[in-house]
Protein backbone atom coordinates (compact mmCIF):
# COMPACT_ATOMS: atom_id res chain seq x y z
CA UNK A 1 0.00 0.00 0.00
CA UNK A 2 1.14 3.50 -0.72
CA UNK A 3 -0.60 6.80 -0.04
CA UNK A 4 -0.22 9.97 -2.03
CA UNK A 5 -1.25 13.11 -0.17
CA UNK A 6 -2.03 16.14 -2.32
CA UNK A 7 -0.45 18.98 -0.36
CA UNK A 8 -2.25 22.23 0.19
CA UNK A 9 0.24 25.05 0.39
CA UNK A 10 1.02 28.60 -0.59
CA UNK A 11 4.33 27.65 -2.24
CA UNK A 12 6.32 28.95 0.72
CA UNK A 13 4.69 26.87 3.44
CA UNK A 14 2.40 23.96 3.99
CA UNK A 15 -1.23 24.65 4.95
CA UNK A 16 -2.25 23.15 8.27
CA UNK A 17 -5.00 21.03 6.68
CA UNK A 18 -2.34 18.92 4.99
CA UNK A 19 -1.10 17.73 8.40
CA UNK A 20 -4.50 16.21 9.19
CA UNK A 21 -4.55 14.48 5.83
CA UNK A 22 -1.10 13.00 6.49
CA UNK A 23 -2.48 11.60 9.77
CA UNK A 24 -5.35 9.99 7.88
CA UNK A 25 -2.87 8.48 5.40
CA UNK A 26 -0.81 7.16 8.28
CA UNK A 27 -3.95 5.58 9.73
CA UNK A 28 -4.51 3.75 6.45
CA UNK A 29 -0.98 2.37 6.63
CA UNK A 30 1.87 1.96 4.16
CA UNK A 31 4.14 4.63 2.74
CA UNK A 32 3.00 8.22 2.89
CA UNK A 33 4.16 10.41 0.02
CA UNK A 34 3.23 14.03 -0.45
CA UNK A 35 2.82 15.76 -3.79
CA UNK A 36 3.57 19.45 -3.82
CA UNK A 37 2.41 21.02 -7.05
CA UNK A 38 3.53 24.63 -6.93
CA UNK A 39 5.73 27.32 -8.35
CA UNK A 40 8.98 28.12 -6.56
CA UNK A 41 7.62 25.82 -3.90
CA UNK A 42 10.77 24.14 -2.60
CA UNK A 43 10.17 25.64 0.84
CA UNK A 44 6.74 24.01 1.01
CA UNK A 45 8.26 20.75 -0.20
CA UNK A 46 10.96 20.71 2.44
CA UNK A 47 8.38 21.56 5.11
CA UNK A 48 6.38 18.55 3.93
CA UNK A 49 9.46 16.34 4.04
CA UNK A 50 9.86 17.09 7.73
CA UNK A 51 6.35 16.11 8.70
CA UNK A 52 6.27 12.99 10.84
CA UNK A 53 5.42 9.91 8.81
CA UNK A 54 6.25 11.31 5.39
CA UNK A 55 8.81 9.23 3.52
CA UNK A 56 8.91 11.08 0.23
CA UNK A 57 7.86 14.41 -1.22
CA UNK A 58 7.23 14.77 -4.92
CA UNK A 59 7.76 18.33 -6.03
CA UNK A 60 6.28 19.43 -9.31
CA UNK A 61 7.54 22.96 -9.65
CA UNK A 62 6.51 25.10 -12.56
CA UNK A 63 4.62 28.13 -13.75
CA UNK A 64 1.52 26.04 -14.48
CA UNK A 65 1.03 25.67 -10.71
CA UNK A 66 1.65 29.32 -9.94
CA UNK A 67 -2.02 29.95 -9.18
CA UNK A 68 -2.90 26.48 -7.93
CA UNK A 69 -5.51 25.92 -10.63
CA UNK A 70 -7.44 22.70 -10.20
CA UNK A 71 -7.11 21.56 -13.82
CA UNK A 72 -3.31 21.62 -13.71
CA UNK A 73 -3.12 20.20 -10.20
CA UNK A 74 -5.31 17.25 -11.13
CA UNK A 75 -3.30 16.57 -14.28
CA UNK A 76 -0.12 16.62 -12.17
CA UNK A 77 -1.54 14.14 -9.67
CA UNK A 78 -2.63 11.78 -12.43
CA UNK A 79 0.82 12.01 -14.09
CA UNK A 80 2.43 10.82 -10.85
CA UNK A 81 -0.29 8.52 -9.49
CA UNK A 82 0.74 5.21 -11.02
CA UNK A 83 2.05 3.42 -7.94
CA UNK A 84 -0.46 4.53 -5.32
CA UNK A 85 -3.42 2.71 -3.79
CA UNK A 86 -4.75 5.79 -1.98
CA UNK A 87 -4.81 9.39 -3.08
CA UNK A 88 -5.83 11.85 -0.39
CA UNK A 89 -6.62 15.54 -0.23
CA UNK A 90 -8.03 17.81 2.44
CA UNK A 91 -11.77 18.46 2.34
CA UNK A 92 -11.10 22.14 1.76
CA UNK A 93 -12.09 24.30 -1.18
CA UNK A 94 -8.81 23.37 -2.86
CA UNK A 95 -8.92 19.65 -2.11
CA UNK A 96 -12.58 19.37 -3.05
CA UNK A 97 -11.87 21.02 -6.38
CA UNK A 98 -8.89 18.84 -7.30
CA UNK A 99 -9.67 15.36 -5.93
CA UNK A 100 -12.85 14.61 -7.93
CA UNK A 101 -11.04 15.58 -11.14
CA UNK A 102 -8.31 13.12 -10.25
CA UNK A 103 -10.85 10.40 -9.48
CA UNK A 104 -12.66 10.91 -12.77
CA UNK A 105 -9.45 10.92 -14.81
CA UNK A 106 -8.46 7.64 -13.14
CA UNK A 107 -12.02 6.29 -13.54
CA UNK A 108 -12.25 5.68 -9.79
CA UNK A 109 -14.91 6.57 -7.26
CA UNK A 110 -14.14 9.16 -4.62
CA UNK A 111 -15.10 8.98 -0.96
CA UNK A 112 -15.56 12.52 0.31
CA UNK A 113 -15.02 13.99 3.72
CA UNK A 114 -13.88 10.88 5.59
CA UNK A 115 -13.88 11.15 9.38
CA UNK A 116 -12.58 7.68 10.22
CA UNK A 117 -10.47 4.97 8.64
CA UNK A 118 -11.88 1.49 9.30
CA UNK A 119 -9.45 -0.35 7.03
CA UNK A 120 -7.71 0.27 3.75
CA UNK A 121 -10.99 -0.02 1.80
CA UNK A 122 -13.52 1.18 4.35
CA UNK A 123 -14.17 4.63 5.70
CA UNK A 124 -16.76 6.54 7.70
CA UNK A 125 -18.17 9.79 6.35
CA UNK A 126 -21.03 12.08 7.38
CA UNK A 127 -24.07 12.37 5.14
CA UNK A 128 -27.23 14.49 5.39
CA UNK A 129 -25.30 17.40 6.89
CA UNK A 130 -23.90 15.20 9.63
CA UNK A 131 -27.25 13.76 10.68
CA UNK A 132 -26.00 10.28 9.79
CA UNK A 133 -22.65 8.58 9.46
CA UNK A 134 -22.17 6.17 6.57
CA UNK A 135 -19.60 3.41 6.58
CA UNK A 136 -18.52 3.08 2.96
CA UNK A 137 -16.38 0.45 1.28
CA UNK A 138 -14.71 1.08 -2.03
CA UNK A 139 -14.46 -1.71 -4.57
CA UNK A 140 -11.98 0.23 -6.71
CA UNK A 141 -8.28 -0.57 -6.92
CA UNK A 142 -7.37 3.02 -6.13
CA UNK A 143 -9.16 5.00 -3.45
CA UNK A 144 -9.49 8.73 -3.89
CA UNK A 145 -10.36 10.35 -0.58
CA UNK A 146 -10.95 13.78 0.86
CA UNK A 147 -10.36 14.11 4.57
CA UNK A 148 -12.27 16.18 7.12
CA UNK A 149 -9.46 17.86 9.04
CA UNK A 150 -11.19 18.11 12.40
CA UNK A 151 -11.53 14.32 12.55
CA UNK A 152 -7.79 13.60 12.44
CA UNK A 153 -5.15 15.08 14.75
CA UNK A 154 -2.50 17.00 12.82
CA UNK A 155 0.78 15.16 12.17
CA UNK A 156 3.84 16.66 13.87
CA UNK A 157 5.59 19.18 11.66
CA UNK A 158 8.97 17.77 12.53
CA UNK A 159 10.57 14.39 12.89
CA UNK A 160 9.99 13.33 9.31
CA UNK A 161 12.88 12.20 7.16
CA UNK A 162 11.34 12.41 3.75
CA UNK A 163 13.33 12.93 0.59
CA UNK A 164 12.28 15.51 -1.96
CA UNK A 165 12.11 14.28 -5.52
CA UNK A 166 11.43 16.65 -8.39
CA UNK A 167 9.22 15.66 -11.28
CA UNK A 168 8.29 17.41 -14.50
CA UNK A 169 5.61 20.02 -14.21
CA UNK A 170 2.61 19.47 -16.48
CA UNK A 171 1.80 21.95 -19.20
CA UNK A 172 -0.85 24.55 -18.48
CA UNK A 173 -4.30 23.30 -19.51
CA UNK A 174 -5.14 26.62 -21.09
CA UNK A 175 -8.80 26.35 -20.09
CA UNK A 176 -8.71 28.51 -16.97
CA UNK A 177 -6.66 31.34 -15.60
CA UNK A 178 -6.32 33.25 -12.37
CA UNK A 179 -7.66 36.79 -12.22
CA UNK A 180 -7.55 37.98 -8.63
CA UNK A 181 -7.94 37.00 -5.00
CA UNK A 182 -9.47 38.83 -2.11
CA UNK A 183 -8.78 37.75 1.43
CA UNK A 184 -11.75 38.09 3.73
CA UNK A 185 -11.48 40.97 6.12
CA UNK A 186 -12.08 39.99 9.69
CA UNK A 187 -15.30 41.91 10.11
CA UNK A 188 -17.71 40.47 12.55
CA UNK A 189 -19.69 37.72 10.83
CA UNK A 190 -23.46 37.71 10.48
CA UNK A 191 -25.21 36.04 13.40
CA UNK A 192 -26.91 33.43 11.27
CA UNK A 193 -23.79 32.63 9.23
CA UNK A 194 -21.24 32.68 12.08
CA UNK A 195 -19.32 29.57 13.04
CA UNK A 196 -18.91 30.88 16.58
CA UNK A 197 -21.33 33.05 18.54
CA UNK A 198 -20.67 34.78 21.82
CA UNK A 199 -23.99 35.61 23.40
CA UNK A 200 -24.82 37.57 26.52
CA UNK A 201 -27.75 37.83 28.88
CA UNK A 202 -28.96 40.06 31.66
CA UNK A 203 -26.16 38.77 33.90
CA UNK A 204 -23.91 41.31 32.19
CA UNK A 205 -25.74 44.11 33.96
CA UNK A 206 -25.54 46.85 31.34
CA UNK A 207 -24.84 47.62 27.70
CA UNK A 208 -21.43 48.98 28.58
CA UNK A 209 -20.49 45.85 30.45
CA UNK A 210 -21.86 43.74 27.61
CA UNK A 211 -19.47 45.42 25.18
CA UNK A 212 -16.55 45.61 27.59
CA UNK A 213 -16.67 41.93 28.52
CA UNK A 214 -17.87 40.21 25.37
CA UNK A 215 -16.27 42.16 22.53
CA UNK A 216 -12.69 41.04 23.26
CA UNK A 217 -13.78 37.41 23.33
CA UNK A 218 -15.71 37.75 20.09
CA UNK A 219 -12.77 39.50 18.45
CA UNK A 220 -10.39 36.81 19.54
CA UNK A 221 -12.61 34.02 18.23
CA UNK A 222 -13.82 35.82 15.11
CA UNK A 223 -17.27 35.32 16.52
CA UNK A 224 -20.59 37.05 16.04
CA UNK A 225 -22.28 38.67 19.03
CA UNK A 226 -25.75 37.66 20.18
CA UNK A 227 -28.01 38.30 23.11
CA UNK A 228 -31.01 36.99 24.99
CA UNK A 229 -34.34 38.74 24.81
CA UNK A 230 -33.85 39.91 28.37
CA UNK A 231 -30.64 41.69 27.38
CA UNK A 232 -32.29 43.22 24.33
CA UNK A 233 -35.33 44.34 26.32
CA UNK A 234 -33.03 45.86 28.91
CA UNK A 235 -31.51 47.93 26.11
CA UNK A 236 -27.99 46.47 26.23
CA UNK A 237 -27.93 45.82 22.49
CA UNK A 238 -30.20 46.39 19.48
CA UNK A 239 -32.99 44.02 18.45
CA UNK A 240 -31.02 42.36 15.70
CA UNK A 241 -28.73 40.77 18.30
CA UNK A 242 -31.55 38.71 19.69
CA UNK A 243 -31.24 34.95 19.49
CA UNK A 244 -34.34 32.95 20.26
CA UNK A 245 -37.80 32.03 19.28
CA UNK A 246 -38.71 35.55 18.29
CA UNK A 247 -35.22 36.54 17.25
CA UNK A 248 -32.73 34.78 15.07
CA UNK A 249 -32.41 31.02 14.91
CA UNK A 250 -28.77 30.02 14.90
CA UNK A 251 -26.81 26.78 14.76
CA UNK A 252 -23.11 27.65 14.90
CA UNK A 253 -20.31 25.19 15.64
CA UNK A 254 -19.79 26.88 19.00
CA UNK A 255 -22.26 28.91 21.03
CA UNK A 256 -20.97 30.55 24.18
CA UNK A 257 -23.81 31.67 26.45
CA UNK A 258 -22.63 34.14 29.04
CA UNK A 259 -24.67 35.39 31.96
CA UNK A 260 -27.95 34.05 30.71
CA UNK A 261 -30.41 31.78 32.44
CA UNK A 262 -31.56 29.86 29.38
CA UNK A 263 -35.25 30.68 29.04
CA UNK A 264 -37.02 28.18 26.86
CA UNK A 265 -37.61 30.79 24.19
CA UNK A 266 -33.90 31.43 24.01
CA UNK A 267 -33.05 27.75 23.89
CA UNK A 268 -35.41 27.37 20.95
CA UNK A 269 -33.20 29.69 18.96
CA UNK A 270 -29.83 28.08 19.63
CA UNK A 271 -30.28 24.49 20.72
CA UNK A 272 -29.12 23.12 17.38
CA UNK A 273 -25.65 24.59 17.88
CA UNK A 274 -23.02 21.89 17.65
CA UNK A 275 -21.28 22.78 20.92
CA UNK A 276 -22.81 24.92 23.63
CA UNK A 277 -20.81 26.49 26.43
CA UNK A 278 -22.48 28.19 29.37
CA UNK A 279 -20.83 30.51 31.85
CA UNK A 280 -23.08 31.54 34.72
CA UNK A 281 -22.62 31.92 38.43
CA UNK A 282 -25.97 30.27 39.24
CA UNK A 283 -25.33 26.50 39.18
CA UNK A 284 -29.06 25.83 38.77
CA UNK A 285 -29.55 27.98 35.67
CA UNK A 286 -31.47 25.99 33.03
CA UNK A 287 -28.82 26.85 30.45
CA UNK A 288 -26.58 24.21 32.04
CA UNK A 289 -29.13 21.59 31.07
CA UNK A 290 -28.34 22.05 27.39
CA UNK A 291 -24.70 23.10 27.64
CA UNK A 292 -22.04 20.62 26.59
CA UNK A 293 -19.63 22.44 28.85
CA UNK A 294 -20.78 24.46 31.78
CA UNK A 295 -18.59 26.70 33.87
CA UNK A 296 -20.06 27.90 37.14
CA UNK A 297 -18.18 31.13 37.67
CA UNK A 298 -18.42 34.88 37.89
CA UNK A 299 -18.46 35.93 34.27
CA UNK A 300 -16.61 39.16 34.99
CA UNK A 301 -13.61 37.09 36.04
CA UNK A 302 -14.00 34.04 33.85
CA UNK A 303 -14.49 35.78 30.50
CA UNK A 304 -11.38 37.99 30.67
CA UNK A 305 -9.40 34.93 31.76
CA UNK A 306 -10.79 33.03 28.81
CA UNK A 307 -9.75 35.85 26.48
CA UNK A 308 -6.25 35.82 27.92
CA UNK A 309 -5.71 32.08 27.73
CA UNK A 310 -7.51 31.02 24.58
Amino acid sequence: MANLVIAEHDHGSLKAATLNVISAATAIGGDVHVLVAGHNASAAASAAAQVAGVSKVILADGAAHGNLLSENAAAQVVANAASYTHILAAATAYGKSVAPRVAALLDKAQISDIIKVIDADTFVRPIYAGNAYATVKSNDSVKVLTVRGTAFAPAATSGGTGTVESVDCVADSGVSSFVSAEVTKSERPELTAAKIIVSGGRGLGSGDKYREVLTPLADKLGAALGASRAAVDAGYVPNDYQVGQTGKIVAPDLYIAIGMSGAIQHLAGMKDSKVIVAINKDPDAPIFGVADYGLVADLFEAVPELVAKI
Binding site: N67, L69, S70, E71, T92, A93, S97, V98, A99, P100, R101, V102, A103, A104, D107, K108, A109, Q110, I111, S112, D113, I127, Y128, N131, A132, Y133, A134, T135, V136, K137, N139, D140, T150, G174, V175, S176, S177, F178, V179, A181, E182, V183, T184, L221, L254, K274, V275, P283, G289, V290, A291, D292, Y293, G294, L295, V296, A297, E305, L306, K309
Partner: protein, 249 residues
Protein backbone atom coordinates in the same frame (compact mmCIF):
# COMPACT_ATOMS: atom_id res chain seq x y z
CA UNK B 1 -25.71 29.84 -26.21
CA UNK B 2 -27.06 26.63 -24.76
CA UNK B 3 -26.65 25.85 -21.08
CA UNK B 4 -27.18 22.53 -19.36
CA UNK B 5 -28.34 22.44 -15.76
CA UNK B 6 -28.27 19.08 -14.00
CA UNK B 7 -30.70 18.88 -11.07
CA UNK B 8 -31.07 16.30 -8.32
CA UNK B 9 -34.13 15.18 -6.39
CA UNK B 10 -33.30 14.93 -2.70
CA UNK B 11 -34.99 14.82 0.69
CA UNK B 12 -36.34 18.30 1.38
CA UNK B 13 -33.90 20.34 3.41
CA UNK B 14 -36.47 20.87 6.15
CA UNK B 15 -36.83 17.16 6.78
CA UNK B 16 -34.72 15.81 9.58
CA UNK B 17 -33.83 12.33 8.39
CA UNK B 18 -33.82 9.32 10.67
CA UNK B 19 -31.44 6.42 10.47
CA UNK B 20 -33.26 3.12 9.87
CA UNK B 21 -33.30 0.78 12.83
CA UNK B 22 -31.47 -1.93 10.86
CA UNK B 23 -28.70 0.60 10.03
CA UNK B 24 -29.12 -0.05 6.32
CA UNK B 25 -29.54 3.62 5.50
CA UNK B 26 -31.72 6.60 6.30
CA UNK B 27 -35.48 6.31 6.11
CA UNK B 28 -36.60 8.34 3.13
CA UNK B 29 -39.85 6.52 2.44
CA UNK B 30 -42.77 8.97 2.57
CA UNK B 31 -40.69 12.04 3.31
CA UNK B 32 -41.02 15.17 1.27
CA UNK B 33 -38.66 15.35 -1.67
CA UNK B 34 -37.54 18.55 -3.36
CA UNK B 35 -34.96 19.89 -5.72
CA UNK B 36 -31.52 20.06 -4.13
CA UNK B 37 -31.13 23.70 -2.99
CA UNK B 38 -27.78 24.14 -4.76
CA UNK B 39 -29.38 22.89 -7.97
CA UNK B 40 -32.12 25.49 -7.55
CA UNK B 41 -29.41 28.11 -7.39
CA UNK B 42 -27.93 26.66 -10.59
CA UNK B 43 -31.27 26.87 -12.39
CA UNK B 44 -31.77 30.41 -11.14
CA UNK B 45 -28.34 31.45 -12.40
CA UNK B 46 -29.06 29.98 -15.82
CA UNK B 47 -32.37 31.84 -15.96
CA UNK B 48 -30.65 35.09 -15.03
CA UNK B 49 -28.11 34.54 -17.79
CA UNK B 50 -31.00 33.99 -20.17
CA UNK B 51 -32.71 37.14 -18.98
CA UNK B 52 -29.46 39.02 -19.65
CA UNK B 53 -29.48 37.71 -23.19
CA UNK B 54 -26.35 35.62 -22.73
CA UNK B 55 -28.09 32.27 -22.84
CA UNK B 56 -30.66 31.25 -25.42
CA UNK B 57 -31.73 27.82 -24.23
CA UNK B 58 -31.69 26.11 -20.83
CA UNK B 59 -31.86 22.34 -20.68
CA UNK B 60 -32.49 20.76 -17.31
CA UNK B 61 -31.33 17.19 -16.87
CA UNK B 62 -31.79 14.75 -14.04
CA UNK B 63 -30.80 11.15 -13.49
CA UNK B 64 -32.76 8.73 -11.35
CA UNK B 65 -36.21 7.30 -10.81
CA UNK B 66 -39.42 8.29 -12.61
CA UNK B 67 -40.36 10.78 -9.87
CA UNK B 68 -37.40 12.94 -10.87
CA UNK B 69 -39.79 14.25 -13.52
CA UNK B 70 -41.32 16.41 -10.78
CA UNK B 71 -37.94 17.98 -10.15
CA UNK B 72 -37.50 18.64 -13.85
CA UNK B 73 -40.97 20.19 -14.08
CA UNK B 74 -39.97 22.40 -11.20
CA UNK B 75 -36.81 23.45 -13.09
CA UNK B 76 -38.94 24.25 -16.12
CA UNK B 77 -41.34 26.24 -13.93
CA UNK B 78 -38.40 28.35 -12.77
CA UNK B 79 -37.37 28.86 -16.39
CA UNK B 80 -35.66 25.88 -18.05
CA UNK B 81 -36.88 25.46 -21.63
CA UNK B 82 -36.89 21.69 -21.82
CA UNK B 83 -35.75 18.71 -19.84
CA UNK B 84 -34.16 15.31 -20.10
CA UNK B 85 -34.60 12.52 -17.59
CA UNK B 86 -32.07 9.71 -17.60
CA UNK B 87 -34.31 7.16 -16.02
CA UNK B 88 -32.91 4.35 -13.87
CA UNK B 89 -33.61 2.60 -10.59
CA UNK B 90 -29.90 2.05 -9.96
CA UNK B 91 -28.42 3.90 -6.98
CA UNK B 92 -26.34 6.42 -8.91
CA UNK B 93 -22.98 7.52 -7.56
CA UNK B 94 -21.27 10.74 -8.63
CA UNK B 95 -18.90 9.14 -11.13
CA UNK B 96 -21.80 7.41 -12.88
CA UNK B 97 -23.79 10.65 -12.94
CA UNK B 98 -20.80 12.50 -14.40
CA UNK B 99 -20.50 9.89 -17.16
CA UNK B 100 -24.20 10.13 -17.95
CA UNK B 101 -23.97 13.90 -18.07
CA UNK B 102 -20.94 13.68 -20.35
CA UNK B 103 -23.01 11.62 -22.79
CA UNK B 104 -25.75 14.29 -22.70
CA UNK B 105 -23.19 17.05 -23.19
CA UNK B 106 -21.71 15.22 -26.18
CA UNK B 107 -25.15 15.13 -27.74
CA UNK B 108 -26.47 18.57 -26.80
CA UNK B 109 -23.20 20.51 -27.08
CA UNK B 110 -23.90 23.18 -24.46
CA UNK B 111 -21.29 25.89 -23.92
CA UNK B 112 -21.84 25.93 -20.19
CA UNK B 113 -22.92 23.43 -17.56
CA UNK B 114 -24.03 24.88 -14.23
CA UNK B 115 -24.42 22.46 -11.31
CA UNK B 116 -24.96 22.68 -7.59
CA UNK B 117 -21.70 22.29 -5.69
CA UNK B 118 -23.11 19.36 -3.76
CA UNK B 119 -26.31 17.52 -3.02
CA UNK B 120 -27.60 17.77 0.51
CA UNK B 121 -28.20 14.03 0.79
CA UNK B 122 -24.82 12.42 0.09
CA UNK B 123 -22.86 15.67 0.49
CA UNK B 124 -20.33 14.31 -2.01
CA UNK B 125 -19.37 17.50 -3.83
CA UNK B 126 -17.90 15.65 -6.82
CA UNK B 127 -20.14 15.56 -9.87
CA UNK B 128 -19.27 18.92 -11.43
CA UNK B 129 -15.54 18.44 -11.08
CA UNK B 130 -15.76 14.89 -12.42
CA UNK B 131 -17.78 16.02 -15.41
CA UNK B 132 -15.25 18.77 -16.10
CA UNK B 133 -12.41 16.25 -16.00
CA UNK B 134 -14.20 13.78 -18.26
CA UNK B 135 -14.86 16.54 -20.79
CA UNK B 136 -11.42 18.09 -20.41
CA UNK B 137 -13.10 21.42 -19.62
CA UNK B 138 -12.17 24.12 -17.18
CA UNK B 139 -14.10 24.38 -13.94
CA UNK B 140 -15.03 27.00 -11.38
CA UNK B 141 -16.33 25.44 -8.19
CA UNK B 142 -18.17 27.26 -5.37
CA UNK B 143 -19.20 30.20 -7.54
CA UNK B 144 -20.53 33.28 -5.79
CA UNK B 145 -20.55 35.48 -8.90
CA UNK B 146 -20.72 34.62 -12.59
CA UNK B 147 -20.22 36.87 -15.59
CA UNK B 148 -20.25 35.60 -19.13
CA UNK B 149 -18.96 37.69 -22.03
CA UNK B 150 -18.19 36.24 -25.41
CA UNK B 151 -16.27 33.04 -25.01
CA UNK B 152 -15.16 33.70 -21.46
CA UNK B 153 -16.79 33.20 -18.07
CA UNK B 154 -15.39 35.17 -15.18
CA UNK B 155 -16.25 33.48 -11.92
CA UNK B 156 -15.69 34.51 -8.34
CA UNK B 157 -15.26 31.50 -6.08
CA UNK B 158 -15.70 31.11 -2.34
CA UNK B 159 -12.43 29.80 -0.98
CA UNK B 160 -11.63 28.95 2.63
CA UNK B 161 -10.09 32.29 3.48
CA UNK B 162 -11.78 34.63 1.05
CA UNK B 163 -12.68 34.97 -2.60
CA UNK B 164 -10.83 34.07 -5.77
CA UNK B 165 -11.73 35.15 -9.26
CA UNK B 166 -10.80 33.02 -12.23
CA UNK B 167 -11.47 33.19 -15.90
CA UNK B 168 -12.71 30.18 -17.85
CA UNK B 169 -12.56 29.54 -21.54
CA UNK B 170 -15.92 28.20 -22.72
CA UNK B 171 -17.16 25.53 -22.79
CA UNK B 172 -16.80 25.16 -19.05
CA UNK B 173 -18.32 23.89 -15.81
CA UNK B 174 -19.53 26.06 -12.95
CA UNK B 175 -20.69 24.77 -9.57
CA UNK B 176 -22.80 27.03 -7.41
CA UNK B 177 -22.34 28.11 -3.82
CA UNK B 178 -25.04 29.40 -1.51
CA UNK B 179 -24.45 33.09 -2.02
CA UNK B 180 -24.49 33.06 -5.82
CA UNK B 181 -28.13 34.10 -5.90
CA UNK B 182 -31.44 33.71 -4.15
CA UNK B 183 -33.68 31.49 -6.27
CA UNK B 184 -37.06 32.93 -7.16
CA UNK B 185 -40.32 31.21 -6.43
CA UNK B 186 -41.69 29.51 -9.49
CA UNK B 187 -44.67 31.58 -10.49
CA UNK B 188 -47.91 29.69 -10.53
CA UNK B 189 -48.62 30.50 -14.20
CA UNK B 190 -45.17 29.17 -15.06
CA UNK B 191 -45.84 25.98 -13.12
CA UNK B 192 -48.84 25.46 -15.37
CA UNK B 193 -46.84 26.27 -18.48
CA UNK B 194 -44.06 23.88 -17.42
CA UNK B 195 -46.49 21.04 -17.88
CA UNK B 196 -46.51 21.74 -21.60
CA UNK B 197 -42.75 21.90 -22.08
CA UNK B 198 -40.81 19.00 -23.57
CA UNK B 199 -39.50 16.34 -21.21
CA UNK B 200 -37.50 13.59 -22.94
CA UNK B 201 -36.73 10.30 -21.23
CA UNK B 202 -33.66 8.21 -22.00
CA UNK B 203 -32.05 5.20 -20.31
CA UNK B 204 -28.40 4.87 -19.28
CA UNK B 205 -28.06 2.05 -21.83
CA UNK B 206 -29.19 4.42 -24.60
CA UNK B 207 -26.25 6.59 -23.65
CA UNK B 208 -23.86 3.65 -23.48
CA UNK B 209 -22.92 4.30 -19.87
CA UNK B 210 -22.22 1.67 -17.23
CA UNK B 211 -23.71 3.02 -14.01
CA UNK B 212 -22.87 0.11 -11.69
CA UNK B 213 -21.98 1.39 -8.20
CA UNK B 214 -18.33 1.38 -7.17
CA UNK B 215 -18.94 2.06 -3.50
CA UNK B 216 -20.93 -0.05 -1.06
CA UNK B 217 -22.51 1.46 2.01
CA UNK B 218 -22.01 -1.13 4.74
CA UNK B 219 -24.03 0.60 7.39
CA UNK B 220 -25.41 3.94 8.46
CA UNK B 221 -25.40 5.09 12.08
CA UNK B 222 -26.76 7.94 14.12
CA UNK B 223 -24.00 10.39 14.94
CA UNK B 224 -22.86 10.07 18.54
CA UNK B 225 -25.23 11.87 20.92
CA UNK B 226 -23.91 14.98 22.54
CA UNK B 227 -22.95 14.59 26.16
CA UNK B 228 -24.99 17.28 27.86
CA UNK B 229 -24.40 18.98 31.12
CA UNK B 230 -20.72 18.37 31.81
CA UNK B 231 -19.46 20.99 34.22
CA UNK B 232 -15.84 22.00 33.98
CA UNK B 233 -13.76 23.14 36.92
CA UNK B 234 -12.19 26.29 35.56
CA UNK B 235 -11.35 28.31 32.49
CA UNK B 236 -8.29 26.21 31.69
CA UNK B 237 -10.36 23.03 31.71
CA UNK B 238 -12.91 24.69 29.46
CA UNK B 239 -10.28 25.72 26.93
CA UNK B 240 -8.85 22.19 27.01
CA UNK B 241 -12.27 20.67 26.28
CA UNK B 242 -12.98 23.11 23.46
CA UNK B 243 -9.61 22.54 21.85
CA UNK B 244 -9.10 18.83 22.30
CA UNK B 245 -12.48 17.25 22.78
CA UNK B 246 -14.94 19.38 20.86
CA UNK B 247 -12.26 20.72 18.50
CA UNK B 248 -14.21 23.89 17.82
CA UNK B 249 -11.46 26.43 18.52
Amino acid sequence: MKVLVPVKRVVDYNVKVRVKSDNSGVDIANVKMSMNPFCEIAVEEAVRLKEKGVVTEIIAVSAGITQCQETLRNAMAIGADRAILIETDVDLQPLAVAKLLKAVVDKEQPRLVILGKQAIDDDANQTGQMLAALLGWGQATFASKVEVAGDVATVTREMDGGLETISLKLPAIITTDLRLNEPRYATLPNIMKAKKKELAIVKPADLGVDVAPRLTTLRVDEPPKRQGGVKVADVAALIDKLKNEAKVI
